[in-house]
Amino acid sequence: MTRGIRVPAAFEPAGKRPRRAGSFALRFWSVRHASLLERLYAAFERVLTASAPLLGWIGYERLERPVAAAERLVKGALFDCRMCGRCILSSTGMSCPMNCPKGMRNGPCGGVRPDGHCEIYAEMPCVWVEAWKGAQAMRGGGAIEQVQPPVDHRLKGRSSWLDVARGARSGSGTLPS
């Protein structure tokens, strides 16, 4: 195997390394507690939708930067979120698909190693093997079977929470977003 320069994944921000299986990372905790997070986010979604008039009054564009920053902080810690702007964590067992070096949004590639690790980063558990585990613990885990459209790259870095509040996207099955 070649050693040397690491080539970052398609969506990997500078400074974020692939997570080792053995290391402590909230990302793995989140998948193990996918069911709890699912309930939390369902409640959060209701709050977001309910506060839509207030948010609209303040102005969505004015809120974009602070809310996106908060979202990056919270979801970055919990999921290693890459801020793709089209969050589908509820359909992916609370395992962020943008951590996949190929950015696969519709399931695992054919290269997953026998131990369930990534074909590219041997030390990192496959995002989709994790997603499958998480989905099985979730009530709405069946959403993993939905075909996901490609990412809209214009949304990168933007808050998907505000999108939900705005009603720009359907709520259940797409949150946390």
């Binding site: 190929k102 950015g103 054919g110 026998p114 074909e119 590219i120 499958w132 996901q148 490609p150």
Partner: protein, 341 residues
């Protein structure tokens, strides 16, 4: 020639496309073979590292008369080779039925849709939609990985181009690409219980035929197919099992360790190691596997990947008897009157 079954309607002069039969989405021979219920054979052509078209023709000649369609790989293993579109265009010029492989690694949605139209214009009737290996596994690990689409969204995009006559943007296509859509699946990689669901997603997105990763573990494929039949997917798509000869136990070990997604059980390596002539044993093993997978309900054909052993494909197809006397198209038998009937 001992072949008895010939379909003269499948023979036509190169450049003169076949008619699209009722209920078909393409005018290609692969779709015809599969829809007739015949056991299909496809093979993988390893693309040359050259700009000489003769290199492509020489490689295709090894399969002539033995396969129904030829896969032209698209930078497989993330290594640089002649492009799949160009190989397909060369092959259709002389009458072959190629399968255009599209990997999402190197092109974004604009380039891919353009290539799909171009390939269809050049007479390509089949497309295999792949995500592609990571750039890290190839000869240009410093390249920018694109992955704008993944295999499933790619299927959906091309299906839309064909059936709705629209680009992903919604803009209208005046003459849509008539393409038989395929995808890959790996029944041998974890998470194994997710794999049939993923196949269902691919079918939903538009896959009409499936070529699997190398099968060296027939019981595992049987389990996968049992689930696939339970879900009724075998009636919604044609599944071709991936097979190929292993040249030696050493290569098998190397492939297992270095080629992503290839699962080779210890028993296979032991069988090769115990043989006096490992290459011959690898060929026999491949034939045995073909005969076994042929018996699995829902398997509609085989996809032979004989990397650097292309010259054995004819022999493997012949000895396994899977064509059952059927004679696929041959370059020297062009024209409806030519084939012996």
């Amino acid at each position: 020639m001992s072949a008895r079954i010939v379909h003269p309607a499948d023979f036509a002069e190169p450049g003169a496309p076949l008619a699209e039969l009722p209920g078909h989405v393409s005018s290609g021979r692969l779709e015809r073979v599969l829809r007739r219920g015949e056991f299909a054979v496809t093979a993988e052509l390893s693309p040359p590292d050259s700009a000489d078209p003769q290199d492509v023709y020489n490689r295709a000649a090894a399969f002539d008369g033995w396969v129904d369609s030829i896969n032209a790989t698209d930078g497989s293993g993330a290594n640089c080779h002649m492009s799949s579109v160009a190989i397909c265009a060369l092959l259709t010029r002389v009458g072959y039925s190629p399968i255009l492989q599209i990997s999402c690694r190197d092109h974004n949605r604009i380039a891919i849709q353009g290539n799909v139209l171009g390939a269809a214009a050049m007479g390509v009737c089949n497309v295999l939609c792949l995500t592609g290996d990571g750039v890290q596994s190839g000869d240009h690990p410093e390249a920018k990985p694109v992955f704008d689409l993944d295999s499933i969204s790619l299927l959906a995009v091309i299906k839309r181009m064909r059936d709705e006559q629209r680009f992903l943007s919604g803009r209208r296509i005046t003459s849509p690409p008539r393409l038989f859509l395929g995808a890959a699946e790996n029944p041998f990689a974890p998470p194994c219980d997710f794999r049939p669901l993923r196949l269902a997603k691919k079918v939903e997105a538009g896959a009409q035929f499936i070529q699997t990763q190398y099968c060296f573990d027939v019981p595992m494929l049987r389990d996968f197919m049992a689930k696939v039949r339970e879900m009724g997917l075998d009636r919604q798509c044609f599944i071709l099992a991936g097979v190929g000869p292993l040249p030696s136990a050493r290569t098998a070990r190397w492939m297992r360790a270095n080629v992503p997604g290839v699962h080779i059980p210890d028993s296979v390596i032991a069988r090769l190691e115990g043989a006096a002539d490992q290459r011959a044993e690898g060929k026999r093993l491949c034939i045995d596997i073909i005969r076994e997978v042929r018996e699995i309900p829902g398997i509609a054909g085989v996809h032979v990947m004989a990397y650097r052993q292309e010259e054995y494909v004819a022999e493997i197809v012949h000895d396994s008897g899977i064509l059952e006397g059927r004679a696929p198209w041959r370059r020297d038998l062009n024209g409806p009157s030519a084939p012996p009937g």
